[in-house]
């Protein structure tokens, strides 16, 4: 089935659908990871985005029940070079097409994804529409122009959990104030801005009882649970657009050890009084080199972000940069000098991607004493 991709700047690309008819819009971004499409598809940080994989062959190993990073597919649409319909992997429980179709997510193949990627690299992340129903370039470009972007938009309230839940051996389990969590050494409250399950898995593995709470949860409510530590998850969109949370985080600063990842990290930055900006086309992939300034060692990291904390805006003397991105010198990690609060822009929980940065979770455990 023929499909058309239209970008707000008027560019179009052709392809064919491998998931049947449909139309969807979002910010078009590329991910350079060569494996891990299932984790990418289910990563809430991609809310509002259409993802294209730069690796051309997708679907090879199918999908399984173990590699979901959230309860549902989060991307608005998926663009690949060649969809491989017959999976081959001992863990595979189904094909990628079935997985997408079940959740009505449009998948497009036979696209010159390298051309698309190069276009985004030069033009920057763009709003776009993909469709099998409207194949008229002009009208589709118009739709792209009309579609909502990400800047200033609060996507967190769309993806954060409605009810608090705990993390147990067999995944999420409804319940508040650690009621549904197996007993453990540390009690950690996790703010869900669109978190990835692997963050919870890694905490649980480290003897943490994990209580996930909605983004709107107040500082008082959290402190009332008397946690040993507070975790701020990743999430979609523009941190500046997220309502209320920044103040909450500011209140919690210094009260308990705090660890933030990606959007969580950006929100901490804003709470410190720093500012954020939008990268031209973001960092999305599994090969971004990050240097730990304390050890001078390089870790290869998994990344997925379009916004970034402005290094120059960090409050002098209060907050210091701990990690830097070797490709573009952007801020990758920071720590508060007075309080036990640290955060990174990349994804130490990986899934998908290298495990080089898992040590940060151990650091968090240490911080909780």
């Amino acid at each position: 089935m023929k499909a058309l991709i239209a970008l707000e700047d008027g560019t179009t690309f052709t392809g064919t659908s491998f998931t049947g008819p449909g139309e969807t819009s979002g910010e078009i971004v590329f991910n350079t990871g060569m494996s891990g499409y299932q984790e990418v598809l289910t990563d809430p940080s991609y809310t509002g985005q259409i993802v294209t994989m730069t690796y051309p062959l997708i679907g090879n190993y199918g999908v399984n029940d173990e590699d979901n990073e959230s309860a549902a597919i989060q991307v608005e649409g998926f663009i690949v070079k060649e969809y491989n319909e017959i999976p081959s992997n001992f863990r595979a429980t189904g094909s990628l097409a079935e997985f997408l179709q079940a959740q009505k997510i449009l998948g497009i193949e036979n696209v010159d994804t390298r051309a698309l990627t190069r276009h985004i690299r030069l033009a920057g992340a763009l709003r776009g529409v993909i469709s099998t129903e409207d194949l008229d370039p002009d009208s589709l470009v118009a739709k792209a122009k009309g579609s909502p972007g990400l800047v200033g938009r609060d996507l967190v309230k769309e993806v954060t959990c409605q009810e608090p839940y705990g993390w147990s051996a067999d995944g999420p389990k409804p319940g508040s104030n650690f009621s549904s969590c197996p007993a453990a050494r540390y009690k950690v409250v996790c703010y869900d801005f669109g978190l990835k399950y692997n963050q919870l898995r890694l905490l649980a593995e480290r003897d943490c009882a994990v209580q996930v709470v909605p983004a709107t949860t107040s500082a008082a409510e959290v402190l009332a649970m008397n946690p040993d530590g507070i975790f701020l998850s990743n999430g979609p969109g523009d941190p500046a657009g997220v309502e209320g949370v920044i103040e909450t985080v500011r209140e919690l600063l210094g009260q308990k050890p705090m660890f933030g990842i990606c959007l969580g990290h950006q929100i901490m930055g804003l709470a410190y009084g720093a500012t954020t900006y939008k990268l031209k086309f973001g960092h999305r992939g599994a090969n971004q080199p990050v240097k730990d300034l304390a050890t001078g060692k390089v870790e290869v990291t998994s990344q997925n972000h379009g916004f970034c904390v402005d290094l120059s805006s960090l409050p002098e003397g209060e907050v210091e940069m701990t990690h830097v991105n070797l490709n573009d010198d952007s801020l990758e990690g920071m720590a508060h000098k007075k309080y036990q609060a640290f955060s990174v822009q990349h994804h130490p929980e990986n899934a998908p991607g290298p495990h080089d940065s898992i040590y940060l979770f151990d650091r968090f455990i240490e911080a909780m004493g």
Binding site: G36, N287, V298
Partner: protein
């Protein structure tokens, strides 16, 4: 960390001659490393016995020793040069093993030479199977259950525990030599005998069989700050049991989810740390159980390898270059990524295409050997192809092989339609060089992926993709020529179908399809290999073709020349031709002309992205080459350097008005076409052995009788001496006509008078159309009848009369001018009774060009390039042959030990895979060096076994006499013994095998023989002489199969008495 300043001089050990499992990839790696170290201001000393390498060019290292890579020689060089450090990880297994031995000799300690990258314990920990498994257990990784044994009995006992089949694997050997799968105790005994003998430390490991598991490789790099990155993952299409060097492999891994991939990544990192490789690259091999993903470690190589070369070409990340910089102290985050220029080497390349590597085998040259693939590598070359999809890459890869196929199916050759079903299933089950054709036939017979998987254990993912290609093949057939249009035509090209396949499937011609695509405007685009999937801008123009929307090729202004490479290595066409192509590129750069390289061989220097201004990694077919020409519009195309591959394209390209540089294609035809060549020689009054062409058996017999036996016969349509035989009588001829070839009107048989006991001469010359200058006149050591590529040769020619030398020069001059050669020309002559015969003329760069260049210090290929680009030899200041006051001996290296049951007799069909050079002021010593370099030892005392055919008995007397005078005892078989005794040489007789025990094998076994001289009529005459030669091989005894060889060896022994070998760098020679 900045680079180290405490070391100034670094010694690098190369990998020596091209052999199976150690080919030009180590020239590629080594050259990169040497350049990188010099860039950093270090003084680099190099030893490599292989003259055909770029790394041994005088301007690459500061001092270059083209000497045998033996511990003794390396020790001499260390003593003379006093390097601060030795970098042992670039010369393959040879470099590594030699470094270990030198260290054990105490030489490194004595002269305070530091081992860079990996010290002895590290190397041993990784290479010793035992210590390696210990290490793996320590970090919680699994290795297949196994036992280390040192005797046959231990082996038997262990096998009972592990259970058959068991994998037999000697420690410290190349490419798994001597290894294999033993299905029963008898096979086990055979393999262990060989294995224990081959292993550096008589240690063999028996291992639980993982046959049928999936096999993977990861390329890892580590710096001294303990940063570790993965450069590339490779998945083998052939399951465990087929050596990775013999497997079709794909990058990146295709059937691993991120979890499984990360598990492998973590394991690789843990391994390189535990083994303790300080800096540089390593290669880790994994086996994965397809049932449940269980992971086992197969091995790790703590050095650059064939796979790391492949990984470098597949990703654009220059592993060897970076490894060299890490070795001198840089860290990954300090080294810039050449391709993006804005990022660093501290990252993991990500690719947005699929790469496939397909081996090229050479079983047809060793008919006695069974065509099966096991844990010991057998392929002599490989080709790599890049496509956006696996299907496209697979089809490009197959047509890159240059074995007469144009893709996966859709060609006449290797059609298995007639094959019995049971045989077909056997072909699928037993890995062999033809399996890809069996796979196609299985799809044709609709056997189904399930069944094919059962038989081959190839991952269904690969099989499904192949099935999709075949599915489209059927559609193409059904749709016919009419069907080929619009989206369907595009889909065909995207699936990698070549015009030739489409023509075959639609019963049209390649040019029909070509024209059709011009009308339909269906043309390929070119995309960049950039290490980063377009995330950053790429600055190095390294291209591959595909059928998509955006074209990234940037045809530049200014004068540019395209060089067509030689494709995959094969016997008869190897590194020598790549050397010439690379020199062409260097010469163009010197002239300020843009160079565009086209090649499909990942092992080579020519496919290094910074060798030429532009690199197109593409198949060398007319279609693929014409596409590039149409896109780049070069001012000229060089076809005379890449061997037969580009030469075979010359006429076709010429017909399409491509500007061929240098010698006109018609001259090539004139030299290759029998009739035209005869007229040509007659015109010049030059002699050729009496010859004629037979179109059927009767004719052949008439002609042979007419010319008189012995005769040389060969099919007219094959090159490289294929299926060429010397036929001594009627019966032989009958057999040949029956077995070897089916003569027919369009496939005639060429019959030449065999010039017996003639001296063969090789001449390389260069001509600008007016002036001819001889590059070198080489005298073969073995007589004519032994392929020029297989015989040792000496420069300068020492045994010819001045009159004959003058005649040779004159003939060469005359032929070059008459042919209108612009560039290089090679002539093979035979001299018999002061008469000069022309054997063949090749108006192109020959296999001997690098040898001559290294021996004389004249860069022939560069000069030739400049001549082709319009300069005259006068302008280039090269107007007369250079005389040298030393001797250079080229010796060939053979793969016989790789193939069971193969005879080591030499003949007119080339069998060698590589060569070495020995240089010295004394001919005997030069020859000695060539022998050591080729891995042949030279006895100084003991017994020499002589067993020669009657015609040789006269001449061998002198040799035996001299040997006896050196104190050797002479042992001989019946005939030879009595003949020698009658002629005053004391000779003890020994039984042939057929004469009952104790026979000579017993004697050999008890180390009672130190050298074997055995000549035999034509092909493997009596079983007896065969067993002698084979025993020599199996027991690593020096053996000589020609009188000339025996004389040369005796001369070497004479020279070695009293004086010992000295080392001298090429820079000191010139």
């Amino acid at each position: 960390m900045p680079k180290r300043t405490d070391i100034k001089k670094i010694l690098i050990i190369g990998s020596g001659p091209i052999i199976i499992s150690q080919a030009c990839e180590f020239d590629y790696s080594g050259t990169q490393a040497v350049k990188a170290l010099k860039e950093e201001g270090y003084e680099v000393i190099l030893i490599n016995s292989n003259p055909a390498t770029i790394m041994t060019d005088p301007e690459i290292a500061d001092r270059t020793y083209i000497e045998p890579i033996t511990p003794a020689m390396v020790a001499k060089i260390i003593e003379k040069e006093r390097p601060d450090a030795l970098l042992p990880t670039l010369g393959g297994q040879t470099g590594l093993n030699t470094a270990i031995k030198v260290a054990e000799m105490g030489v490194l300690d004595k002269y305070k030479v530091e081992l860079l990258a990996a010290d002895i314990d590290v190397i041993k920990k990784a290479e010793g199977r035992d210590s390696f498994r210990e290490a793996m257990y320590k970090i919680g990784l699994k290795v297949p259950e196994s036992a280390i044994v040192h005797t046959i009995d231990e082996a038997m006992a262990a096998a009972d525990k592990i259970g058959f089949p068991v994998i037999v694997r000697p420690s410290f050997t190349l490419g798994g030599t001597g290894g294999g799968v033993a299905y029963n105790s008898q096979e086990l005994e055979e393999m262990c005998t060989a294995g224990l003998d081959l292993s550096l430390n008589t240690e063999v490991m028996l291992e639980r069989s993982l046959l049928g598991w999936k096999e993977y490789e990861l390329e890892v790099m580590r710096d001294r700050n303990d940063n570790v990155v993965i450069i590339c993952s490779i998945e083998n299409m052939d399951a465990m049991g087929v050596h990775t060097g013999d497997s079709i492999t794909v990058a990146p891994a295709q059937t691993l989810s991120d979890r499984e991939y990360q598990e492998m990544r973590n394991a690789s990192i843990a391994i390189i740390r535990e083994i303790g490789v300080e800096t540089g690259g390593s290669n880790v091999q994994f086996a994965v159980n397809p049932e449940d993903g269980e992971l086992m470690i197969i091995e790790m190589n703590p050095r650059v390898s064939r796979s790391s070369a492949l990984a470098s070409k597949a990703t654009g990340f220059p592993i060897a270059k970076i490894a060299a910089k890490l070795a001198v102290g840089y860290t990954l985050d300090e080294i810039q990524n050449d391709i993006t220029r804005e990022t660093y080497a501290a990252f993991e390349p990500t690719i947005d295409y699929t790469v496939i590597k397909i081996p090229r085998w050479t079983f047809e040259k060793f008919p006695e050997a069974e065509d099966i693939l096991t844990t010991a590598m057998k392929s002599v070359g490989e080709t790599m192809a890049i496509g956006r999809t696996f299907k496209e890459a697979m089809q490009k890869g197959l047509r890159s092989l240059e074995i007469g196929i144009s893709g996966f199916g859709g060609h006449a050759k290797f059609d298995l339609a007639g094959m019995d079903q049971r045989d077909l299933e056997m072909q699928l089950k037993k890995p062999n060089s033809q399996r890809i054709f069996a796979l196609h036939e299985a799809l044709v017979r609709d056997m189904g992926v399930e069944r094919i998987f059962e038989l081959t254990a190839m991952d269904p993912w690969f099989l499904h993709n192949l099935a999709q290609i075949y599915g489209l093949e059927k559609e193409i057939k059904e749709g016919g020529f009419q069907g080929l249009k619009g989206d369907f035509l595009r889909r065909c090209k995207q699936y990698g179908f070549s015009d030739s396949q489409l023509a075959f499937l639609t019963g049209t011609s390649e040019s029909d399809i070509w024209q059709l695509r011009e009308q339909e405007n269906e043309q390929p685009v070119y995309k960049l290999v950039d290490t980063c999937a377009a995330e950053f801008e790429a600055h190095t123009p390294y291209y591959y073709s595909t059928y998509e929307e955006e074209n990234e090729a940037r045809a530049s202004e200014g004068r540019k020349v395209m060089i067509l490479g030689g494709g995959p290595n094969r016997i008869g066409q190897g590194i020598e031709f790549d050397y010439c192509c690379v020199h062409a590129s260097f010469a163009l750069r010197e002239m300020g002309i843009e160079s565009i390289m086209v090649n499909s061989n990942p092992e080579t220097v020519s496919t290094d992205y910074d060798t030429s201004d532009k690199l197109y990694f593409e198949p060398l077919t007319k279609e693929d080459v014409m596409h590039i020409i149409n896109s780049e519009k070069p001012d000229g195309v060089i076809v005379q350097f890449g061997g037969q591959t580009p030469l075979n394209l010359a006429v076709a390209l010429d017909a399409m008005d491509v500007p061929i540089m240098g010698t006109p294609p018609d001259a090539i035809d004139r030299a290759e076409d029998r009739e035209r060549f005869q007229k040509f020689l007659q015109k010049l009054g030059l002699k050729q052995p009496a010859n004629d062409t037979a179109r059927n058996a009767e004719q052949a017999h008439e002609i042979a009788a007419e010319i008189g036996y012995p005769v040389v016969v060969r099919p007219s349509y094959v090159l490289g001496g294929r299926a060429m035989r010397i036929v001594y009588n009627e019966e032989d001829l009958t057999r040949y006509m029956f077995e070897a070839v089916q003569a027919s009107a369009d496939h005639p048989i060429l019959i030449d008078k065999f010039l017996k006991d003639a001296i063969e001469i090789d001449v390389d010359a260069i001509c600008d159309g007016k002036t001819v200058v001889i590059g070198g006149i080489m005298q073969h050591i073995e007589e004519a009848g032994i392929h020029s590529g297989d015989s040792a040769c000496v420069l300068p020619a020492h045994g010819l009369s001045d009159k004959m030398l003058a005649e040779i020069k004159e003939a060469t001059r005359a032929m070059a001018l008459e042919l209108g050669v612009i560039g290089l020309m090679n002539v093979q002559y035979a001299v018999k009774e002061e008469t000069l015969y022309i054997i063949e003329v090749n108006p192109r760069a020959s296999r001997t060009v690098p040898f001559v260049s290294k021996a004389t210090g004249v860069p022939l290929a560069k000069l030739a390039t400049k001549v082709m680009a319009g300069k005259t030899l006068n302008e280039l200041g090269f107007t007369s042959e250079v005389a040298i006051d030393h001797y250079a001996v080229k010796e060939a290296v053979f793969p016989f030990d790789r193939f069971d049951n193969v005879d080591t007799l030499l003949g007119p069909e080339m069998k060698s895979t590589g060569e070495v050079m020995g240089m010295d002021h004394d001919l005997g010593l030069a020859f000695a060096k060539s022998q050591f370099g080729a891995g042949q030892s030279i006895p100084s005392e003991g017994a020499v076994l002589i067993s020669v055919r009657d015609s040789d008995k006269e001449t061998i007397v002198a040799v035996a006499h001299e040997l006896a005078s050196f104190g050797f005892s002479i042992v001989g078989t019946k005939g030879t013994a009595s003949f020698l005794n009658d002629n005053g040489v004391e000779c003890t007789r020994v039984n042939k095998v057929s004469e009952g025990r104790p026979h000579l094998l017993d004697k050999i076994h008890d180390h009672g023989i130190q050298w074997i001289i055995n000549t035999s009529m034509g092909t493997r005459t009596t079983e007896d002489s065969f067993t002698i030669r084979r025993a020599a091989l199996d027991y690593h005894l020096p053996y000589t199969t020609t009188i000339a060889g025996a004389q040369a060896m005796t001369r070497a022994i004479a020279s070695l008495r009293g004086q010992d070998l000295q080392v001298k760098s090429v820079q000191e020679y010139f």
